[in-house]
């Protein structure tokens, strides 16, 4: 049973979505703090460019493609939910989760290769930033996938369909973070 408070909407934005904008806002400053720290180190330390040469641009590009595509599925799920088609939304959400899993698998291969070459998180500040930034993003991918599973489970029975949009917005945010991580960690060499 939801309190009356939850059903009110003085701003005109539904409560769940309004809260989600604040969630995304507070995530922007978490990633922003980390990335700002990375960028100033990257500019201040020309040797970071030599380290970055060991990252695999193609793996990064593949993962960008995977996340962009999963974002498309997330927005298609939202479109289906808006039309009240919970089953279709459920299916698209699972495609999105598939994207998340693919992303993590690619990351796993990539990291294994780099660690075998001796580029561990303790090697130097570049690799510390590399694993921490991508790892924090990876945690968000995992969290998003889990939440999406829960939402999909409900959506299948046409319950709480508004959550499809909310988890989608979160997923697009995770996508945007990667859109910036990709050039920062892979392209700028």
């Amino acid at each position: 049973m939801k309190p009356i408070a939850t059903t009110r909407s003085a701003t005109g934005i539904p409560t769940g979505r309004l809260a989600l904008w604040w969630v995304v806002g507070s995530e922007i400053v978490i990633f922003g703090g980390l990335l700002a720290s990375y960028i100033m180190h990257r500019i201040g330390h020309p040797e970071f460019g030599d380290y970055a040469a060991h990252t695999n641009t193609w793996a990064g590009a593949l993962n960008t493609f995977v996340l962009l595509t999963s974002s498309l599925f997330a927005v298609l799920a939202h479109q289906a939910a808006e039309k009240g088609d919970g089953r279709k939304a459920h299916r698209f959400l699972w495609y999105t989760i598939g994207g998340a899993v693919t992303f993590l698998v690619v990351k796993g291969f990539e990291w294994t290769h780099e660690i075998h070459q001796g580029y561990t998180i303790t090697a130097n500040a570049f690799w510390s930033f590399y694993y921490t930034a991508a790892g924090l993003h990876g945690l968000h991918v995992i969290a998003g996938a889990i939440v999406m599973g829960v939402v999909a489970h409900k959506a299948k029975r046409n319950e709480e369909l508004q959550r499809v949009e909310l988890v989608g917005i979160y997923w697009h945010f995770v996508d945007i973070v990667w859109i910036f991580l990709f050039p920062l960690l892979y392209i700028a060499k």
Binding site: G32, S71, L72, I169
Partner: protein, 123 residues
């Protein structure tokens, strides 16, 4: 949950088309460094990242049709990060200035660069 302004937009937006645009931008950003021009690479890498982020935010996140307050929240947060960068970078990004030196950072850069060129000479 379909707020009225968004429903009007939502049905007409061709999400697959937007996705295709994003993929084209991705290809450009990957191919950018092959041109071998530093400034150009920065543009194709970060300029395009900005464009991609805008497209995802505006069309997939529906910020275009959401009430303005949501965009204000997010833009404020981004602006604060720019502020953080401006305040912190003079100390971290540079290794010397008026009456100060960051000897440890200079030494590390020097060490890493010479190690790198030594490794390059071996090849």
């Amino acid at each position: 949950m379909s707020a009225s302004p968004e429903a009007a937009d939502g049905h007409h937006t061709n999400y697959v088309k937007i996705w295709a645009i994003l993929l084209v931008l991705l290809v450009i950003s990957v191919l950018g460094p092959l041109l071998g021009h530093r400034t150009l690479t920065l543009v194709t890498a970060f300029g395009i990242a900005g464009v991609k982020a805008y497209i995802v935010a505006a069309h997939f996140m529906h910020l275009k049709t959401e009430l303005k307050i949501a965009s204000y929240i997010l833009v404020t947060m981004v602006a604060l990060m720019v502020l953080l960068f401006m305040g912190v970078s003079p100390d971290v990004m540079k290794h010397d200035g008026r009456n100060w030196n960051n000897d440890a950072a200079k030494a590390e850069t020097h060490r890493a660069e010479s190690a790198h060129s030594a490794a390059g000479a071996e090849h």
